[in-house]
Amino acid sequence: MLQFKLVLLGDSSVGKSSIVHRFVKDTFDELRESTIGAAFLSQSIKIKDPNSEEDVVIKFEIWDTAGQERYKSLAPMYYRNANAALVVYDVTEADSLVKAQAWVNELKQKVGDENLVIHLVGNKVDLVEEEPSKRVITVEEATKYAADENLLFKEVSAKTGLNIKEVFQTIGEKLYEIKQVELAKNPGNGNGINGDQVNINLPRPSTNDSTSCCS
């Protein structure tokens, strides 16, 4: 089993906690209470090794953060050593994409790890299915931005569950792929261009899952 650290970032009320709860517990509350500080949850998924076709278990250690601007200063504590970041916006809130873009910039500047997987997600598509006029951020706009910045991207709904599992599946596969490349490049020690950095951020195999925390 492999473990990866994943952090959720995004503006207040875009649905970060709802996405995590849909993924971890498969539940949804219409009005989930605000997150104060940060919350930790974990969940495992299975992916297939593309070569051997064997199942590989991937465990996500998920840090769900508070969205209000003032909590921004705490974020570095949570994205430190992260392998992946899920940056969330709300397709019905114009400003939330601007905030998401600010997070992407901050991650690129501060984490300084080119292997950090950043996945942009536009949440609450269920609202625009009910009432298309509610949409203020188009798929095209977000897709173009994600392509320019080299991010993974999907629109999701924590309410209906649309694409939630897929997002984590994609991240898991991507992280596994990166890890295989790293192992091939640096079987023993980190000698590559980014050798040292890569090794710091390598996930560790988990040895005692039965007792590990909060699963």
């Binding site: 605000s34 930790f40 209000q68 200063s73 705490l74 988990s206 925390c213 909060c214």
Partner: protein, 476 residues
């Protein structure tokens, strides 16, 4: 989840209702209810009596009494400025409070209040509570545009809303709620109402300092002093109301931890006690923390994550363990311990001058001094506004600093002469010198007070024992 503290047998609810313990408790609560009710009949109930009743077991017993007692205490701790004295918000203004242009934080308040009270079943009650919550928060913010709203403040405000919730009269109570929450915010929450979290982080960093007074090993092992203990931020910013949601009262007298925590804070006028409670919680669970630490060591790459995760796990377990009756049992015993410590003047408090800003409630308005001096510490609105302004300016400086610079900033703070004399200079004197100075001062006071017999009585029964205990605990 292998927890250990609940290995003792727990009776079922019906068994418990038949037990002597339950019936004794009920009798005690009923008695206390009647005593408080009697005291409140007094047109000017003494601040001290009400305060003592709030500190002892069961706090103010129920919300009917709590409303009145909080009002007595908070209105005694605060003197309204002349300009605002008789100003009431009328209904028209209340509607204005719910307009976006009223305050910068309006949108955030709306987002958070709209997501509040999710645990209340009745949709009508829920809707009314949410609306009241929003009105109350916006009411406080408009009274003081310098205050910045933070996520978590709505949890604190929801405790006030619940205490004043009355099926028939909730709307009539809005003015009183705004007024009391405003006082509470100005006296107790200034550190949190800045436009950044820095002063709040300074406060949670006091937790390891408190712990190290009784157990250095715990601090060292989890390296609590080498990191910002962010795991505690939600508990402290919300005074535990994020974890313990205030419930509607039922007909029977029921326990509700969160109300009693607020009773204690308001009655002692102390923001130190929430930090002391958190420290006690970690100390009480240290074996469990060590165990989880070892088990999870291999799973986390950095210590911050590891400690945050294990503390969160232990807190969550402490909130949900046992059946309804026993939920939070551990927190009740912590609360009782803090009550006792406070009464016996045994709360272990580190020196805060290098850790927090000098305008912090911890060093000024809520430094838990009232029972010690037996003096009513009351603050004028104008003075509080000045303190708030100064804190806001200092926060601008503090915001752009880290580690060593912050220590330097706080080390260079100047304090009023008297506090410095008490804290620093006299502490270094040999005990015998201190003793003789104190005896000298006491002799002078006795001579003055002797003329007033009434005061002398108080002096003999209260101040001398206080002096002796201070002498014992602090100086010798």
């Amino acid at each position: 989840m292998g927890t250990t503290w609940l290995d003792t047998e727990i009776p079922s609810l019906s068994q418990y209702r038949d037990s002597i313990e339950y019936n004794t408790t009920n009798v005690a609560r009923n008695l206390k209810y009647r005593i408080i009710k009697q005291k409140l009949l007094d047109p000017h109930p003494t601040w001290l009596t009400v305060s003592l009743l709030g500190i002892t077991e069961y706090g103010f017993v129920n919300n009917e009494l709590r409303r009145q007692c909080w009002s007595v205490l908070l209105n005694n701790q605060f003197t309204r400025g002349k300009k605002t004295k008789n100003k009431k918000i009328d209904i028209k203004d209340k509607i204005c409070l719910l307009q976006p242009e009223v305050h910068n934080d309006y949108n955030q308040v709306q987002l958070d209040t709209n997501r509040s009270f999710g645990y209340i079943k009745d949709p009508n009650v829920k809707a009314r509570l949410k609306e009241t919550l929003q009105t109350v928060i916006m009411g406080v913010l408009t009274k003081n545009p310098g205050l910045s709203y933070y996520q978590g403040y709505h949890d604190i405000a929801s405790v006030f809303v619940m205490v004043f919730y009355d099926e028939k009269a909730i709307n009539q109570n809005t003015d009183e709620m705004i007024s009391l929450l405003h006082i509470f915010t100005l006296l107790y929450l200034r550190d949190f109402m800045m436009d950044s979290l820095d002063f709040a982080i300074d406060q949670i960093k006091v937790i390891p300092q408190i712990i190290s007074k009784s157990d250095k090993r715990l601090v060292n092992k989890l390296k609590l002093d080498k990191q910002d203990p962010l795991f505690a931020i939600s508990s402290i910013l919300t005074l535990y109301s994020h974890h313990f949601k205030p419930q509607l009262e039922t007909a029977e007298l029921e326990f509700d931890l969160i109300y009693e925590i607020f009773d204690l804070i308001i009655a002692t006028q102390s923001m130190m006690l929430p930090l002391v409670m958190y420290s006690k919680f970690l100390l009480l669970n240290k074996e469990l923390l060590y165990k989880e630490y070892e088990l999870n060591l291999v799973n986390f790459e950095n210590l911050n994550d590891l400690v945050h995760v294990i503390v969160q796990k232990i807190i969550m377990t402490s909130l949900t363990m046992g059946d309804d009756l026993n939920v939070c049992r551990q927190w009740y015993s912590i609360l009782n311990e803090v009550r006792l410590d406070f009464m016996k003047n045994k709360v272990k408090v580190p020196s805060l001058k290098r850790s927090v800003n000098k305008y912090s409630p911890l060093l000024t308005t809520t430094a838990n001094v009232n029972l010690n001096t037996l003096e009513l510490t009351t603050y004028k609105e104008e003075d509080l506004q000045k303190l708030l302004k100064k804190a806001i300016s200092l926060n601008v400086v503090r915001k752009n600093m880290n580690g060593p610079d912050i220590n330097k900033l706080y080390r260079q703070q100047n304090y009023p002469f008297l506090i410095q004399m008490m804290e620093n200079k006299y502490r270094k004197m040999p005990p015998l010198v201190k003793m003789s100075i104190i005896i000298g001062i006491m002799a002078m006071i006795i001579r003055v007070m002797d003329k007033e017999n009434r005061l002398f009585y108080r002096f003999e029964t209260v101040i001398i024992p206080y002096f002796l205990s201070t002498l014992k605990s602090k100086w010798l």
